[in-house]
C-alpha cells in the first residue's frame, strides 16, 4: 500500500522544479546554462566528437570499399596506377594506386560513419570539426585537400588494450 499523499502534490513538485531551474538559469547563468550564444561563443566539442570525416591521403589505396559501402553514395573516388622503379636493378616493377579525386558530398552524407568503419587501411577518421556549412548546396562537395586539412583535428588514437 502506498502512503497517501496530498492530491496535487506531484503537480506542485513539478512546478517547483521548473521555477527553481528558471531562477538558477537567470541568476547563475555560468553554472546552469547548458547552451551557448553560438556565433559569438563557440562550444568546444569533445575530442572524439563525430563532426566530419577526415581523410589521410597517404594511407588511401583507392580500394573503393568506402564508396561501395556508402548508403548515400556520396563518396566520389577516382585514381590511377603508377609504376614505381624497382628497388634493386633487375627487380620487379612496383605498381602503386594513386588518388586523383576523393570528394564527399556533405549535402548527401548522413554521417553514419560506415566508411570510417570499413576502411581497411585507416585512411578515414572522424574529426570533431563542425563548422563547414556553405551558403550554396553545390559547395558542400568537399575535395581531398579539404578532407586532409581536417585530419589535423583528429584526436590521437587511444592506446591499445592489453
Amino acid at each position: 500500500m502506498t502512503t497517501p499523499v496530498f492530491p496535487g502534490k506531484g503537480l506542485l513538485t513539478g512546478m517547483k522544479v521548473t521555477f527553481v531551474t528558471m531562477l538558477q538559469t537567470i541568476f547563475k547563468p555560468k553554472e546552469h546554462l547548458r547552451t551557448v550564444n553560438y556565433p559569438k561563443v563557440k562550444e568546444e566539442p569533445v575530442p572524439r566528437a563525430r563532426g566530419v570525416i577526415a581523410l589521410d591521403q597517404e594511407a588511401c589505396t583507392v580500394c573503393m570499399l568506402c564508396a561501395r559501402n556508402c548508403p548515400d553514395w556520396c563518396i566520389y573516388i577516382e585514381g590511377h596506377k603508377e609504376e614505381k622503379a624497382p628497388d634493386k636493378p633487375g627487380g620487379r616493377v612496383k605498381v602503386r594506386a594513386t588518388l586523383d579525386r576523393f570528394d564527399i558530398d556533405y549535402a548527401l552524407c548522413m554521417y553514419c560513419g560506415i566508411c570510417v568503419e570499413v576502411c581497411p587501411f585507416d585512411a578515414l577518421f572522424w574529426s570533431p570539426e563542425y563548422e563547414f556549412s556553405e551558403y550554396d548546396m553545390g559547395k558542400m562537395m568537399h575535395d581531398k585537400e579539404r578532407l586532409q586539412d581536417w585530419l589535423g583535428t583528429v584526436a590521437a588514437a587511444p592506446e591499445l588494450e592489453k
Binding site: 503537480l11 513539478g14 512546478m15 522544479v17 521548473t18 521555477f19 531551474t21 528558471m22 538558477q24 538559469t25 537567470i26 546552469h32 546554462l33 547548458r34 547552451t35 551557448v36 550564444n37 556565433p39
Partner: protein
C-alpha cells in the same frame, strides 16, 4: 480637446486604433516572454540574436518570415471557408477587448451584460477552429478540429459556471461594476468596501483558470494541436500569413483571458492604496501587472506539465469541474442570502 474627444466618431476611431495596436503588441510581448521563460526553465539561452540585445526582435523576424511564405491552399480544401477560418478565430479575440476595463473610464464600451458578452464572444473562436479543421480536407486537421470542439464544449460549462459565483457576489454583470464591487480601502474603522474575489471565490478562481487554459488549448490541454499525435491539428494545412493569424490569436487570447480573470478575481484596474482619482492613469499599469502574473502562471504550467489523455480531459471537466462549480454557486448563494 474635450469637445473633440466627446465626438462619437473621433472616439470610435481612437478606440479602434488602440485595440488594433494593442492586440498584436500584447501577442508579441507574451510570445517573446514565453520564448525567453521557456528557455530559462530548460537551462537554455533562448532567442538572443535578432535585434541585438536579448534578441527582442525575434518575433518580428518570425513575422517577416511568415509574410515571405507561400499562401498555400490544399487542392481538396473548401477554399472560401479555409481562407475565412483564421479571421473567424481572430474575430473572437478582437471582440473580447470591447468590454475589458483598463480604468473607470478607459473602456471601449461598458456593457451591462459585459461578462456575459465576453464569454459568449470568446466561443466564436471555437467555431473558427472547427471550421479550420473541417475545411482543410486533412484527417489530422479534422481530428484536431473535432477534439477542439469536444474540449471547448466540455470546458465552456465550468468556465461560465465559475463566473456565476462572481456575478452573484458583485450583483452585476458589467465588468466595471464587478471591479467596483472588489474595490476596498483602509479607513480608521478597518477595511471598507470589498475584497478581490479571489479570496472569497478561490474555488471559482481555480476552476476558471483551469477552464481558461483548456479554452485556450494550451498545454496541458493542447490535444487539438497535439504535435506528437496530430502533426499540428487544425493548423496543419495553414501556412504563411494565415498561420500567423492562428499563432497571434493564441497569444492574444492568452492576454484577453488573463485580463478577464484579473478583472473578475484579482480586482482588475483597482489596487489597494491607490487613490480612486488616479485609477484612470494607473489603471492600465495595474491591470497589466496582474495580467502579466497570470500569463506567467500559464507559461509556467505549459513548461511543467505533460499533456492530458483525451478521456482524462473529459472526465476532469464533467466529473470534477462542473460539479465543483455548481457547488460553488450553491455555497455563494447561501452566503449571499445569509450575510
Amino acid at each position: 480637446m474635450t469637445d473633440l474627444l466627446s465626438n462619437f466618431w473621433v472616439l470610435l476611431v481612437l478606440k479602434v486604433l488602440v485595440v488594433a495596436t494593442l492586440i498584436p503588441l500584447a501577442g508579441m510581448v507574451i510570445g517573446f516572454a514565453e520564448m525567453k521563460l521557456s528557455a530559462k526553465m530548460q537551462n537554455r539561452v533562448g532567442p538572443y540574436f535578432a535585434g541585438g540585445r536579448w534578441g527582442w526582435a525575434q518575433l518580428i523576424a518570425d513575422g517577416v518570415k511568415f509574410f515571405q511564405k507561400e499562401d498555400l491552399v490544399p487542392a481538396e480544401a473548401d477554399r472560401a471557408v479555409f481562407k475565412f477560418a483564421p479571421m473567424l478565430v481572430f474575430i473572437g479575440t478582437v471582440a473580447l477587448f470591447v468590454v475589458l476595463p483598463a480604468g473607470p473610464d478607459l473602456v471601449v464600451q461598458n456593457l451591462d451584460v459585459g461578462i456575459f458578452y465576453a464569454l459568449a464572444i470568446s466561443s466564436i473562436s471555437t467555431i473558427g477552429v472547427l471550421v479550420a479543421g473541417w475545411s482543410s480536407a486533412n484527417k489530422y486537421s479534422l481530428m484536431g478540429g473535432l477534439r477542439a470542439a469536444g474540449q471547448l464544449i466540455a470546458y465552456e460549462l465550468p468556465l461560465v459556471l465559475s463566473v456565476v459565483g462572481v456575478v452573484v457576489m458583485a450583483g452585476t454583470m458589467s465588468l466595471n461594476g464587478i471591479v467596483e464591487a472588489q474595490a476596498g480601502w483602509l479607513s480608521e474603522t478597518g477595511w471598507q468596501g470589498g475584497l478581490p474575489f479571489v479570496i472569497p471565490q478561490l474555488l471559482g478562481f481555480v476552476i476558471f483558470m483551469i477552464a481558461a487554459l483548456a479554452e485556450l488549448s494550451r498545454i496541458p490541454f493542447d490535444m487539438p494541436i497535439a504535435e506528437s499525435e496530430l502533426v499540428m491539428g487544425y493548423v496543419t494545412e495553414y501556412s504563411g500569413f494565415r498561420f500567423l493569424f492562428f499563432f497571434l490569436a493564441e497569444f492574444a487570447n492568452m492576454f484577453s483571458m488573463s485580463a478577464i480573470a484579473a478583472t473578475l478575481f484579482l480586482g482588475g484596474y483597482w489596487a489597494p492604496f491607490v487613490p480612486a482619482d488616479m485609477l484612470n492613469w494607473a489603471g492600465p499599469a495595474i491591470l497589466a501587472a496582474k495580467v502579466g502574473a497570470l500569463v506567467f502562471l500559464m507559461i509556467w504550467f505549459r513548461w511543467t506539465f505533460p499533456r492530458f489523455r483525451e478521456d482524462q480531459l473529459q472526465s476532469l471537466a464533467w466529473k470534477w469541474l462542473i460539479p465543483l462549480s455548481l457547488l460553488n454557486i450553491v455555497l455563494t448563494g447561501i452566503f449571499k442570502v445569509a450575510f
